[in-house]
């Protein structure tokens, strides 16, 4: 396992989360509505960032499965805010050169007659830089 101290610091700073507050109860993963789509689950994001084991997360599709619904943030008994950790890791990934998850070219095939603007706007905000 790699201990990437720089990335760890970067993610903690961006997210404002103190991952050492986690007591590993698993309530975040218990509450997650996108759990089954994820390879790494909310509690693993917290645990792996705490350990500096971040590269696997950066490569994982799980980054794009989080709904940012904040259920984990709301229900965490220790106030750890896992969703913010996921988001920070995702930003580290998409901010890398050419790593945008979505491009404008993807839009036509995604869009349907009744697709609300909101959906595209937020997808761009979440998946691109």
């Amino acid at each position: 396992m790699e201990n990437n101290k720089y990335l760890r610091e970067e993610i903690l700073r961006m997210s404002g989360v103190n991952t050492s507050k986690c007591m590993k109860c698993g309530k975040c993963s218990a509450t997650c509505p996108a759990y089954d789509e994820m390879e790494y689950h909310p509690h693993q994001f917290v645990g792996m960032v705490e350990m500096g084991d971040i590269e696997p997360l950066l490569k994982s599709e799980s980054l794009y499965k989080c709904l940012s619904c904040f259920a984990c943030v709301e229900r965490c008994p220790r106030g750890v805010e896992p969703a913010k950790v996921v988001e920070a890791v995702r930003l580290v990934a998409v901010r890398r050169q050419g790593a945008n998850r979505m491009t404008a070219n993807d839009v036509p095939e995604t869009i349907e007659e009744d697709t609300p603007q909101q959906l595209l706007v937020s997808a761009f905000r979440k998946y691109t830089k």
């Binding site: 709301e74 609300p116 603007q117």
Partner: protein
Amino acid sequence: MKVSYFPGCTLKNKAKDLDAYAYRSAEALGVTLEEIENWQCCGGVFTTSQDEVATKLSSVRALKYAADREQPLVTVCSACHNVIKQTNHAMQTNKEFSAKVNRYMANDGGYNGEAEVYHYLEMLRDLVGFDKVKEAVKNTLKGKKIAAYYGCLLLRPSKVMGMDDPENPVIMEDLIRALGAEAVIFARRNECCGAYTSVESPETAKRNASAIVENAKAAGAEMIITACPLCKYNLVKNGADIPVVYFTEILAEALGVKEDTDGK
């Protein structure tokens, strides 16, 4: 009473009637929604990362507009509400962030979190009062069993949104009761429908949406109301077999302003 109003992208396009219902209902309750001039899209998502500044400027400008007029800022869309309220909170509590933002705001004059942000529902509860809403009802919805679906954005993070108990909210139920209908409470009303990932993983959206609808039906609901255009889209798209409508629609209906009478 006049309030600054931030409609947001969806209400100006795919969900125009929601905007119209909101205007007319407010008018019927003695509130004028004054649309913020030159508002810009909120971006749909509040980026929690502390170093994201530019994406939050459009919200700050809207806030500044309301603050200058000493009006509450009202939104109908729960996504806009979430983004703008979280931005305002960051402006109030995060000095580093607000300093950075104000460097961009030099031409507009500074902003330090003076505005108050209300969701349309909060406006009904705190500025108008549900008792006033009840008095204004023309067509009571008596006999209807309506379930309120909150979704994720409206309530969370509760420390910032401060709207209601995030696990046992009552604001929409109280509105339903004020309009004369029966409020059906179901456990999945604050579980995320997954609409955000419709682009990424439509299957999540579908699975969550049907679980929500099933849960509401099992609790006896004949209709679901939402406060988020995205939720409404997702629940309808994924085959809800009971009506899913925006809360402003039943409000307009009960207040007797649903039909366009003044050509607006």
